[in-house]
C-alpha cells in the first residue's frame, strides 16, 4: 500500500467514470439509457439502483473469481457463474430492501428487476477479471463505472425533459433525436480521453 497504489486507484476511477464511460464509449446498458431517461426522477432512481447493484456484483464476482474459479482453473466458467450470481443477487437485494427499508424500496424497488439483464452489470464484472483487478480495484472500477452510467443517464434525462417543449422536425421526433443527443454527449465525453 503506497501512494502509487492510490494514484492507480484514482486513475481507474476517472477512466471508468469518464473516459471509458460504460454507455457512451463501451455501449453497455444502452437499453435503460434510452428507455428510462425521459424523466430526471426515474433516471436518478435507476442510476442509484445501478450503482448499488454493480458495486455489490463487483465485490461478489471478484471474490468468487479470485478464491474459487481461479485456484481451481475454472476460469472458463466465469460467464455462466457471473450471470447466475447477478440474477440471484438482484432478486435477493430486492427482497431484503423490501423487508428492511420500505422507503428505499419505494425509491429503487421498481428498477431493481430491470437490472438483471442490464449488460453493464455483467460487462463490468467481466472487465474486472479481464483487466486482472484485485478486490479493491474491482470495487473502485465497479463503483466508478456505475457512477459514469448514472451521470450519463441523468444528463440525458435533463436534456430530454427540456427537449419536450422544443419544436423538433417530425422525422426526428422520438428515437432519432434521442440518439442524436447521445451522439453529441459521446463526442463530449470523447474529449476526456486526453485526461490521463
Amino acid at each position: 500500500m503506497n501512494t502509487n497504489y492510490f494514484v492507480n486507484l484514482l486513475i481507474i476511477l476517472i477512466s471508468a467514470a469518464f473516459i471509458n464511460n460504460v454507455i457512451l464509449s463501451q455501449f453497455l446498458g444502452i437499453c435503460p439509457f434510452l428507455g428510462i431517461s425521459n424523466k430526471i426522477k426515474s433516471a436518478v432512481g435507476m442510476g442509484f439502483a445501478v450503482i448499488f447493484v454493480i458495486t455489490t456484483a463487483s465485490i461478489l464476482c471478484s471474490l468468487i473469481f479470485q478464491y474459487i474459479l481461479s485456484p481451481m482453473e475454472l476460469g472458463y466458467l466465469q460467464t455462466i457463474v457471473f450471470i447466475i450470481v447477478i440474477a440471484a443477487l438482484v432478486q435477493f437485494v430486492e427482497m431484503v430492501v423490501k423487508k428492511v427499508s420500505p422507503p428505499l424500496y419505494d425509491a429503487l424497488g421498481v428498477y431493481l428487476p430491470l437490472i438483471t439483464t442490464n449488460c453493464a452489470v455483467l460487462g463490468v464484472a467481466l472487465l474486472n477479471v479481464e483487466k486482472g483487478f484485485d478486490l479493491v480495484e474491482s470495487i473502485v472500477n465497479g463503483f466508478a463505472s456505475a457512477l459514469g452510467f448514472t451521470i450519463s443517464i441523468i444528463l440525458m434525462a435533463g436534456i430530454r425533459e427540456r427537449m419536450e417543449h422544443n419544436n423538433i422536425p417530425k422525422t426526428l421526433k422520438g428515437f432519432p433525436i434521442t440518439l442524436i443527443t447521445a451522439t453529441l454527449m459521446a463526442m463530449a465525453f470523447y474529449g476526456f480521453a486526453g485526461l490521463v
Binding site: N4, N8, S15, N20, L77, A193
Partner: protein, 214 residues
Amino acid sequence: MSNKNKKPSILRDALSLTLITIICSFALAFVYEITKDPIKAQEDAKKNEGYQVVFSDAAELVTDEELVALAAETDLSSLNADYSGVTIDDVVQALDGNGNKIGYIVKSNVRGYSSTISVATGYSLEGVVQGIELLSINDTPGFGMELTNPEFKDRFSGVKTNHFNVTKGNAANENDIDVYSGSTVSTTAVVKAVNAGIGFLTENAEGLGGVENE
C-alpha cells in the same frame, strides 16, 4: 408469472434446475477439454510470433528455465525502485543458426492505464535493444492502442542502452522516448516494463552485464 401448474414444489423445481446445471457443466467441461490444447497452441503461436519480431536475427528460441524461476522469486523493486509493479514471467535465449547464444528475450508485465500490458523485449549480448513488441494491451481501443503503432515500437529498436527515459515532445537522445499524446500512462508503463526487463537481464543473465560486473 402464472402458477397454473398443479402444485408448486420446491423440491421438484430445485431438482430439475440442478439437473440442467449438471448437464450443462458436463457439456462445458467436454468442450473445454477439446479446445484446451488448440487454445494453448494459438496463444503460444501468438507469443512466438511476437518473440520472432523482437529478435529477427535469432534462428532458434529456447526458454531459459533458470532465469524464469529466478524472475518468479525476484522482487524487481529491489533492483531499482523504478521497477516496482513490474513482473517478469518469461525469459528466452535467442540462438543463432549455429546454436550460439546471441541475446535474450524477456517478457515483462506492467499495469497500464487500465489493464495489464505485456511487453517482449529483445536484447542482444552487446546491450542493443533488438525490438519490442506489445503482446497484449487491452487499454481503450484508440488510445493505448496507438502504442501498437510501429512508429512507437521502432523508437526502441537498435538503441544501445540499458535505460530509456520518458520525455514530453523533446526527445534529444537515442534513449529518450516521447510520450504519445493521450497515452501518457501507457507510454510510461511500456518504458518501465522495458527498463525492468533489461535491468533484470543485466543483473542476472550470463554473458551480459551480469558476468562482466563480477
